[in-house]
Symmetry: C2
DNA sequence: CCTACCGATCGGTAGG
DNA sequence: CCTACCGATCGGTAGG
């Protein structure tokens, strides 16, 4: 009955398994088309058991989104560590973001839909996480802008770039005509002022 | 009981009203979060009546998407008629697409979410409509590419461009720091090879 | 975390 | 297009 009280860090395996299953199903089917029973079954639980770990279905969604975004931020920062120039860093952000977006196995998807299912408080938490995710983009792009390499204002360019990439799951197929390296290069070239 | 058989062109007002209400609600809340009762109430009908006009809720969604996209295509073509050069045409496509996307009143939204709620047959119909919508983009961008003004392959550039714009409803606010003219110009400049 | 269950809602239909 | 309604499902809970 009592909800488990755990410090962050000593999370139960089952909770993490629920999050992974929920993330996979939410991304594939959407929030409302996924039932808590689906998530329970996928985790090998009975229908009522997810509510031992999460107060509500919405709380599960919020956790998936926040932890997914933070997971993505980790990947971003690890990848950035290997880049020496601002140009390399921007390429790296683009490429890693695409990897994250298209990675169906990881619990890291941005959950670009289904924001509307959250109430104001949860929505604000997710927005805060997404702001943190965008911080390195802002840094790298500001550096490029200060060298005159960006054709427009940094925040607008940043939002346009991330949007451009976020649309990829709609059309990109790994067996299609162009691969992620080419797409990364094209997006990179669009952002930078040439000539 | 019998479903109304009308030739296209002699559509009932009520059907059109249902479509408008459904479009508005689907865009605002998403497909699954909207009930057929919501749509009925908004149209001044009782709960069962939408099913006199549409076989199912999914059929309503398909109609909203297909007719919305075709509506958008009309606006695109009307706007294009006034443009003289390929550059002007591309600007025009970008700007009109943004107007369509951000127009909450018109029944024309792209319904970029909720594709997953459709079965294969309906999904194919919507995809066909969206292909028609993209045809003028392909034409204009091909013309620019043949003059060496595009930095990359046309289909990829087209998809990246449309994606970049489709993300706008997520962040654009009319009371924000930059207006649609600036955004149009920025997107336009990103697409064209400069220098 | 399971069993057993409730209340509410929802898409859809029969009949007029 | 309304009335009246059904069957199914779903989020969530009490109690252990």
């Amino acid at each position: 009955m009592a909800r488990p009280r755990r410090k962050p860090g000593q999370e139960s395996n089952r909770r993490a398994e629920l999050l992974r299953a929920a993330a996979r199903l939410f991304v594939r089917q959407g929030f409302h088309a996924t039932t808590t029973r689906d998530i329970a079954r996928e985790t090998g639980m009975r229908s009522g058991s997810p509510f031992y770990h999460f107060v509500s279905k919405q709380a599960l969604l919020k956790a998936v989104m926040v932890e997914g975004i933070e997971n993505g931020l980790d990947r971003l920062e690890k990848a950035l560590a290997g880049a020496e120039t601002d140009e390399a860093r921007l390429r790296c952000l683009i490429r890693t973001h695409l990897d994250i977006l298209l990675d169906a196995e990881s619990p890291a998807p941005m959950m670009i839909n289904d924001w509307r299912a959250l109430d104001d408080a949860d929505s604000a938490e997710v927005a805060a996480a997404f702001d943190r995710y965008q911080a390195p983009w802002q840094t790298v792009m500001s550096a490029l802008a200060s060298r005159g390499l960006l054709g427009s204002g940094v925040p607008t360019a940043r939002l346009l770039l991330i949007g451009m990439l976020n649309w990829l799951p709609q059309w990109y197929r790994s067996d299609g005509p162009c691969d992620l390296d080419e797409i990364t290069e094209t997006a990179f070239a669009m952002l930078l002022r040439r000539g």
